[in-house]
Amino acid sequence: MKLSTLGLASALTLGLAAGSALAEYPDRPVNMVIPYGAGGATDISARTISEPLGKAVGQPLVMSNIAGAGGATGSVAVQNATGDGYTMLFARVGTHSVSPAMKATLPYTLDDFRFVAVYEINPIVCVTSPRSGITSMEELIAKIGDGGISYSSAGVGSLHQLSAVMIMREFGIQDPLSAATHIPQKSGGAAATAILNGTATFLCTNSSAVASFVTGGQLIPLMVTTENRVEGFDAPSAAELGRPSLHQLVGWTGIASPDDLPDDVAAKWSDWMADATQDAQFRERMEARGSIIKLMSPEEANAFIRGQYDTFRTLVDELGMRIEG
């Protein structure tokens, strides 16, 4: 029994091995690491694109959630993997522009990764509760001047925290760190709940995370950071408010690999992503959640991520927000 099973297994393996000498990349399933837990925004985005992407790749995509430490655990797992194209990462604004800018002890840097694409952009929106009596950015800024205002986030060193600080700074508050109190929560969902129950006054987050609350009238949108208004949010854009430098403050999702990925493999990923993002069903589902589908080439993606990182890093250094311990 044992022998025959072993024999069967090795025969299958030999068959596969013989196949792989002839076939080119990819000849086996590709492990796609999602650095956040099941059910989160990154997870849903990743699983939505995995359907058309799997068809383009022609091999199964195995989705692996490796969550922890604000995405660092999963990113490190990919950083340490071989760059053979069989381990890829769903990189996110949090893991690859906010965390490197904020955390001195982060065990990886941008140079450890090669970005093959950015496929999704998420506008950032600032919201408050109707009970706060605030209806516009102007009023919010005035109230911050009076003191006693707080904002929630998905944790220290998260996009939410950085967004709130950057926006306050853009609106002329010189020392945002002491002007308003930061009340960190455990997750993005908890951050929204904290506004609903009055723990904190305002929150700047991905539009998709609060879309339902805005539609239901439980939260009031104050502004969006994009150039144009966002559907479903009755709030001025950063351009209308005359703060075009906030356009850079957006969320994104992309695909990255360890930095030693061969060029021909990277080229294939660009093609596959071009195919996958054309899928009508995929676009429809993502847009229903408030995302903007925008495929960037590897060069564009790199420039975009580095630009965003530099902006964030400058701000963090100016304010002394960097987490050193």
Binding site: G68, V156, I183, A190, S212, F213, G216, Q218
Partner: protein, 504 residues
């Protein structure tokens, strides 16, 4: 529209073969997923999610809800049979379920788990339908100060699960609290006991700690004292739970369900604390206190009622406010959104038929759970008859696969074995594992909410007594602590008297 009109509209929506079929399949998938340690309900629901994309909204959501309901019960099967909770929520079930299995009464334990689960499920679903509006506003009044006092009160249940010695239970709890500090600090993001290792920055994986603490020490105990000779005492046994036993435990089941409903409607607590709270309340009220932890069927009933009571109530904040109470409901919210539905107060106006359709489906799911659960017990019962020298190596391998699958990380497997070693030392020294686990779950919540409250108030402690809810929980905590101290003094006096009599 009246409730009756809505009900009719909802019935129109679910009264088709596919809706019930998908609910039925969902319960089956959930029971299996829950029964595989490490799979967990969360992962099973996440895996089922993509299949709902192509379905109509009601069919897809019923499928997910079926998985959820089935999974919460399914977790109790391995908890009873192999001392490995299939889901964190079923860890309280281990305390009396496994001793019963050891005595050859696995059939009774599983039967009671099923009956208690179905009853609690039904009560939870009915509360969702009847009190959603009221409980939802209650949920929103829980801010960090209220949470802090609630969790402080919940920590007193440690005394109820400490077994022979309060002090050893307290020591166990402190160790659990200490271990939970590993990771990144909430407010400043600095490292605590991470030694620069990225695997430790996220804290220790909860499932790895859970399985390491319960299952591995059991394997080590068999290694300590091996042999297939006393297999005959195990086995499912012909015994099945009787109606008289159900009636006797009925009070505990209802109490557990109510605890589950209240804790479930508050976002962020989860099913495990509810199961432990229900268990310790049942023990406190029971005339057979001594028997708890040694195979008391009422303990199984209370634990299962506590965790299933949560399963319907978590939908209260989800449907009425759009707030997910835990990770599982967060995934279910995702399913709503993919279909273009946005849970929240508006949904009762815009999609009332769908809501009432879901309500009908939920009630039916309790019935499905009863039949599928009975079948599952029959399928899994062979596990109890497997010789120990085959069963325990299988558990070992299953735990490794399961713990790896939770977060795709080999490091977690190492954590599981390390926790197993600690758990074995604790077992040999009669230090109970349950307080460790409760502290590990509640400790970080206590600290985080305390610090969030301090941030809100700018450092003033008065915020911790600023609302009626906090007063209630401070009062309850004071009452419970007084009762514990009095019981402790009484026990101490008796012990001294006994020692004196023995000497004299």
């Amino acid at each position: 529209m009246s409730i009756f009109d809505n009900l009719v509209a909802g019935l129109g929506l679910v009264a088709n073969f596919e809706a019930f079929l998908s609910l039925f399949i969902g319960v089956i998938i959930g029971t299996i997923g829950g029964a595989v340690p490490g799979m967990s309900v969360t992962m099973t629901v996440a895996l089922t999610l993509p299949f709902t994309f192509a379905m109509t909204p009601i069919t897809g959501i019923l499928l997910l809800l079926g998985v959820y309901k089935g999974g919460v019960f399914g977790g109790s099967i391995p908890a009873i049979l192999i001392k490995t909770p299939g889901t964190p929520a079923s860890s309280a079930t281990v305390m009396d379920g496994y001793p019963m299995a050891e005595k050859g009464e696995a059939g009774r334990a599983l039967g009671m788990a099923l009956w208690a689960s179905c009853t609690a499920d039904l009560i939870s679903n009915l509360s969702l339908i009847l009190f959603a509006g009221f409980l939802a506003s209650f949920a929103l009044s829980f801010r960090p100060p209220e949470f802090f006092t609630l969790i402080l009160f919940s920590l007193t249940i440690i005394s109820g699960v400490s077994g022979k010695s309060m002090l050893r239970g307290a020591f166990s709890a402190v160790m659990g609290l200490l271990l939970a500090t590993v990771g990144l600090d909430l407010v400043y993001g600095t490292n605590r006991f991470t030694f620069g290792d990225p695997n430790l920055m996220g804290g220790l994986n909860f499932i790895a700690v859970l399985i390491g603490l319960f299952a591995i020490p059991e394997i080590l105990s068999v290694v300590w004292k091996p042999g297939d000779a006393h297999d005959r005492t195990r086995g499912l046994g012909k015994n099945w739970v009787t109606f008289a036993e159900y009636k006797r435990s009925f009070k505990s089941i209802v109490r557990g369900s109510v605890i589950g409903v209240v804790l479930g409607s508050i976002p962020g607590i989860g099913a495990a604390p509810s199961a432990f709270l229900s268990y310790s309340e049942a023990r406190r009220k029971s005339p057979k206190k001594e028997n708890f932890g040694k195979g008391e069927i009422e303990g199984v009933a209370a634990a299962e009622a506590g965790n299933n009571g949560v399963a319907g109530a978590t939908l209260i904040p989800l449907l009425s406010l759009g707030i997910p109470g835990d990770v599982i409901t967060a995934i279910i919210i995702g399913a709503f959104m993919i279909h273009g539905l946005q849970p929240g107060p508006m949904m009762f106006v815009t999609n009332a038929d769908l809501i009432y359709g879901l309500f009908i489906g939920l009630i039916v799911s309790s019935v499905f759970l009863f039949f599928i659960g009975s079948a599952a017990i029959r399928v899994f019962k062979f596990v109890a008859d497997v010789p120990r020298s085959i069963l325990f190596p299988s558990i070992l391998v299953l735990c490794v696969y399961g713990v790896f699958a939770v977060n795709n990380n080999i490091f977690d497997v190492g954590v599981m074995f390390a926790m197993g070693a600690l758990g074995f030392v604790m077992l040999r020294n009669d230090i109970p594992a349950a307080p460790f686990l409760i502290a590990y779950i509640l400790g970080p919540m206590l600290e985080d909410n305390f610090r969030q409250a301090m941030l809100m108030s700018g450092g003033s402690p008065w915020i911790l007594v600023s609302s009626p809810i906090t007063w209630v929980f401070w009062g309850l905590t004071a009452l419970t602590v007084t009762a514990i101290v009095r019981a402790g003094i009484k026990a101490g006096r008796n012990a001294v008297q006994k020692a004196v009599t023995e000497e004299g």
